[in-house]
């Protein structure tokens, strides 16, 4: 099977050629896009350009995990527990007893050579459900690992017990906290089973293997129950806590792993107890554990392994001190070498971030996959303070599972997604008849759009008022500040912050469309509004020249053109102002965000033809990036346009994605160029930047020959997915997004 070579690709990628290649592909090929049970051809290194620092054993474990072998061997929770239907017990008690039964019965899996152990092996959990209970679990938050890790479960237990002793808790609160104590017991049962399993293994082992297992057993005897006394214990403790959450189907972010683990490593290094390469192996095993749900089930269209297990590196701590430490660099080493995208990793950077770190980020970014992204933290912290968070908390921000910022360990987070472009279609009478389409000037048309947006946001706000009266999720709750103190569960406003972010997408295309109408209808009077809306109703049929003229003569958002950027700026400012009017109501915070998360596909059926020269079936802009094909001046112009916005107005975030050809960042100068993009992004004040170094020729080859690319990660929106696990519609979207830069 021949790789589509570059020359051939260029020939085929002309407007007609590529269309035929992508759109005309036979269904058989699509069906082949699953890797299923076919053994993987792992006869090549992880990435041909990555240096090898980790041991062969670690590589072997990584390959096995990445192949989906563990995920495919997961099982359903096919037993029941006696209290399941006992209605005399509270929901929380039954939840805790389900956890106990799972701790007692779930299959264990510890592979030879694993330094970090403990596996969430039940299929239901990997699908975000609570096994045995048959209930949906929770996700989209970073739990307070940073609070529990240093005190261990023993400290957490004390905290819960002492809260119970205070007499002011109501019955609900007591019930919740008692269930938490059962959960801690369950965690201990599970840990003890793992120890017993290892002891059994050890009985038949000898020599080095015996010592190896003995070390693992000693580690498990210390953590997660007690505070860790060294780096290995800290990594194991973090994994054990995290894995137990996973066992109950909770998808959670990890948070600031370098801040959590850095001190343990520093102390071990100082004492000479560990070398950096030993520490790298330990941490690599944590990364490999994060892959064990791959292959769990038929993938979604949007790719496999979306478990929201986000990691944050770098940035300043609560006191304003830089966090970056040896762990930060070890994480980047591991991602570079193993190319594991399953922990989407974002680095918080600022104007003082050392070049050494920026260089490492660039080196990892260049290998592709979009695994490491960037927050410009200064503006984000400012936006959070402006929103009302104390500065120390603002400085501690992480994200929820994609990139929406939140305060870890204190927050119930969710968001409502809406489409801004479809509102413009409504104003223009494209979706339903409108009473009047008479707008004498652009300002009145614009005002009508903003009014529609206001009404829509008011509806969203009313919808939000009554959320968060749901399940307590006691296991998540005990890791979140506020729940123990108030005696209220995770989805019952127990957390200190209950956030329902208001997100809209489609602004790039909305602003482009407004610009076209302003120019063509009101300034040049090229045609009337009703003529134009008729053309849109006909989906441009018979008006291809006009459509092309608009696409080719306008410089839209993303080209560093002040006029088009100003239009987006205006919409952006109005949108963020409207959302900021209701900061909090009914105990629920409502920060503004801008996102699509790939919903540009989901929204297609509602969307009509757009004034910016797009037919109704065009897949339009992702998140806050320029619309596909409109950014004709390259990545620097995109960043210039994007950074014209004042991101302190959008406390939940608005990301931009850059697709860069591998060829344009090769050699030493390529690293300089990537660093230059990031440094300028910081200097100009952006929010969140994702750089994916990718060649559409490679993607097309992967679409045709998925078996050759078992671990080709691509950035989707807030996460990376293995390209071959996306369905064809998603693959095409990614290819088209990338196409523009050829």
């Amino acid at each position: 099977m021949k790789k589509v070579d570059r020359r051939d690709f260029l020939k085929r990628s002309s407007a007609v050629g590529l269309g035929a290649l992508i759109l005309g592909m036979s269904k058989d090929l699509v069906a082949n896009n699953r890797i299923d049970n076919t053994p993987l051809g792992w006869n090549t290194p992880m990435h041909s350009m990555a240096p090898k620092r980790l041991s062969d054993l670690t590589h072997r474990l990584a390959k096995t995990a990445l192949s989906g072998e563990h995920g495919r061997s997961m099982v359903h929770a096919d037993w029941t527990f006696k209290e399941r239907d006992d209605r005399s017990l509270s929901n929380n008690t039954r939840y805790a007893l389900a956890a106990m039964s799972i701790a007692q019965n779930a299959p264990l899996r510890i592979d030879s050579g694993e330094i970090i152990v403990g596996s969430a092996t039940l299929l239901e959990a990997s699908m975000n459900n609570v096994p045995l209970a048959g209930l949906p679990s929770t996700s989209h938050t970073t739990l307070g690992y940073q609070n529990v890790l240093p005190i261990g479960y023993i400290g957490l237990r004390k905290k819960i017990e002492s809260r119970l002793k205070q007499e002011d808790l109501d019955d609900k609160g007591k019930d919740l906290l008692k269930s938490m104590l059962i959960l801690l017991d369950a965690a201990q049962v599970w840990n003890n089973r793992n120890i017993a399993y290892l002891e059994q293994k050890m009985a038949s082992a000898s020599g080095d293997e015996k010592i190896f297992i003995q070390n693992t057993i000693s580690t498990l005897k210390q953590v997660p129950e007690n505070p860790p006394s060294n780096f290995r214990e800290a990594v194991q403790s973090l994994w054990s806590m995290y894995a137990f959450q996973r066992l109950m189907g909770i998808y959670s972010g990890i948070g600031r792993i370098d801040e959590m683990l850095g001190a343990y490593l520093k102390q071990d290094l100082k004492k000479g107890n560990i070398s950096l390469s030993e520490a790298r192996e330990i941490l690599a095993h944590f990364w490999i554990k994060g892959c064990e749900w791959i292959g769990n089930t038929d993938s979604k269209g949007s790719g496999d392994a979306q478990f929201y297990q986000n990691i944050i590196l770098g940035g300043i701590d609560a006191n304003g001190k830089e966090v970056t430490n040896e762990v930060t660099y070890l994480v980047l080493d591991i991602i570079e070498e193993l190319h594991i995208s399953d922990f989407p990793t974002a680095v918080r950077v600022n104007r003082n971030t050392p070049d050494k770190l920026l260089r490492r980020i660039a080196e990892v970014q260049r290998l592709g996959g979009g695994i490491v992204s960037i927050y410009d933290e200064t503006g984000i912290i400012e936006s959070l303070v402006k929103f009302g968070y104390p500065i120390e908390e603002a400085r501690s921000f992480t994200n929820d599972g994609c990139w929406e910022v939140m305060i870890p360990g204190k927050t119930k987070f969710w968001y409502t997604p809406s489409d801004s472009l479809v509102l413009l279609h409504s104003v223009l009478g494209l979706r339903e008849p409108v009473q009047t389409l008479e707008y004498p000037d652009f300002e009145s048309l614009y005002a009508a759009y903003i009014k529609k947006l206001e009404e829509n946001i008011a509806d969203v706000n009313r919808g939000i008022d009554n959320v968060y009266q749901g399940d307590d999720h006691p296991l998540a709750a005990m890791f979140v500040e506020g729940c123990i103190e108030k005696g209220r569960g995770f989805d019952n406003k127990g957390p200190k912050y209950n956030v329902m972010a208001i997100h809209y997408g489609g602004f790039s295309d909305t602003a482009n469309s407004l610009l076209v109408m302003k120019k063509l209808i009101y300034e040049q009077k090229y045609l009337t509004l009703s003529e134009f809306t008729q053309i849109l109703k006909d989906d441009w049929k018979g008006n291809e020249p006009l459509r092309k003229l608009i696409q080719n003569r306008f410089e839209f958002y993303g080209n560093d053109n002040n006029e088009s950027d100003a239009m987006l700026q205006r919409v952006f400012n109005d949108y963020t102002e409207i959302v900021s009017r209701v900061k909090e109501r009914n105990g629920i915070y409502r920060p503004a965000g801008i996102s699509t998360f790939g919903r540009e596909l989901e929204w297609l059926p509602q969307r009509k033809a757009s004034p910016s020269g797009n037919k109704s079936d065009a897949v339009l802009a992702t998140n806050f990036s320029p619309s596909p094909g409109t950014d004709k001046k390259g990545p620097t112009a995109v960043l210039k346009s994007y950074c014209k916005m004042d991101f302190t107005r959008v406390p939940n975030g608005a990301p931009v994605e850059l697709k860069i050809l591998p060829n344009s960042v090769k050699g030493d100068n390529g690293i300089e160029a990537l660093m230059g993009l990031t440094k300028t992004f910081i200097k100009l004040g952006g929010f969140y930047l994702n750089i994916d170094v990718i060649d559409s020729a490679t993607l097309i080859d992967a679409q045709l020959h998925p078996e050759k690319y078992p671990n080709l990660p691509v950035r989707i929106a807030g996460w990376s997915a293995r390209f071959t696990t996306l369905n064809k519609q998603w693959q095409d979207m990614i290819i088209n997004r990338t196409q523009q830069i050829v």
Partner: protein, 306 residues
């Protein structure tokens, strides 16, 4: 201080931002129209003429007929597809390019004042600062539009921006000496080292190119030698030896970059209506790395840049 005319105009056929191959860091490359050489493998054939030209890209034409309606000969599509017909009939009125909605007919070459170029360049100033980048003036041959080029250089130098000239090396010695103070780096093309073959393939003599290089080098300006490699033309030891000799005579040379010939220019020739252009084969990756080794075998002091 010498007097300066502020709005010197020049003909530019492209301005490329985030250019990462034309000198250090992130750069903006300004491509000027007009070249004294006429290399038969030229990958930017539209850069050769100093005048406007029309590109016609049939692949993206939507057959709307607008061009023919506006063409004084009523036949723009046919005329543009044949360079001979163009000579005969096209009066370069540009009407067709103005009306073409699909950009299938495109005017190549736009007049800019040096101030306009400078303000375009300044848009990416923070990127240059953060990557040790700057601007590159390329072409065509930048020194063919000498007044324009030196005016841009003086203006950007005043803003402390790193400047690179991508040159064929073919212009008067005086001009090179005059721009040199404003140039941080020359990317110097050496296409063929045999005098006769050079004349045959590029239409220009070799000697002045090498003499100018030595002059610029003596002046103290840094240079990088750019070697286009074409299997049928210059991928042989004789050429590499000659290059190594030139290289070792230079004091301020920073290295050599090897550029594989690619067929990219063919599609551009077609857009210009030039059907009978020479074609060559592209060197394979192995041939390129062999060339690299061959040069370093002759002189291992030669730095080959990525």
């Amino acid at each position: 201080m010498e007097s300066e005319v502020n709005d010197i105009k020049g003909v530019v056929f492209d301005i490329q931002r985030f250019s990462t191959h034309d000198g250090p860091g992130i750069r903006t490359t300004v491509f000027l129209k007009g070249c004294p050489l006429a290399c038969s493998w030229c990958h930017n054939p539209e850069s050769q003429s100093a005048h406007y030209e029309l590109f016609f890209n049939k692949k993206i034409c939507i057959d709307c007929g607008s061009c023919n309606k506006t063409c004084p000969f009523g036949n723009a599509r046919e005329i543009l597809q044949d360079s001979e017909l163009r000579k005969e009939k096209c009066g370069s009125c540009l009407l067709c390019a103005n009306v073409c909605p699909a950009n299938a007919i495109e005017k190549v070459g736009k007049i800019y004042t040096s101030d306009e170029i400078v303000s375009e360049i300044e848009k990416d100033l923070p990127f240059y600062e953060n990557s040790n980048g700057g601007i590159t003036i390329s072409g065509g041959e930048p020194l063919l539009q000498y007044d324009f080029t030196i005016d841009i250089l003086k203006k950007v130098k005043r803003k402390n921006i790193h400047t690179t000239i991508d040159t064929s090396g073919f212009a008067s010695k005086e001009k090179f000496l005059e721009v040199a103070p404003y140039v941080d780096l020359f990317l110097w093309d050496i296409k063929i080292t045999d005098e006769n073959l050079h004349k045959k393939y590029t239409g220009a003599p070799l000697n002045p190119i090498i003499e100018n290089l030595k002059v610029v080098d003596l002046y103290g300006t840094k240079t990088i030698l750019s070697l286009i490699l074409i299997p049928e033309v210059n991928m042989n030891d004789q050429h590499y030896k000659a290059i190594a000799n030139i290289y070792s005579d230079l004091i301020n040379v920073q290295g050599i970059r090897l550029l594989p010939y690619h067929e990219y220019g063919n599609s551009k020739n077609e857009r210009l209506g030039i059907m009978n252009h020479d074609s060559y084969s592209e060197p394979t990756d192995k041939e390129m790395s062999d060339a690299c080794k061959a040069i370093q075998k002759i002189n291992n002091q030669i730095k080959i840049l990525q």
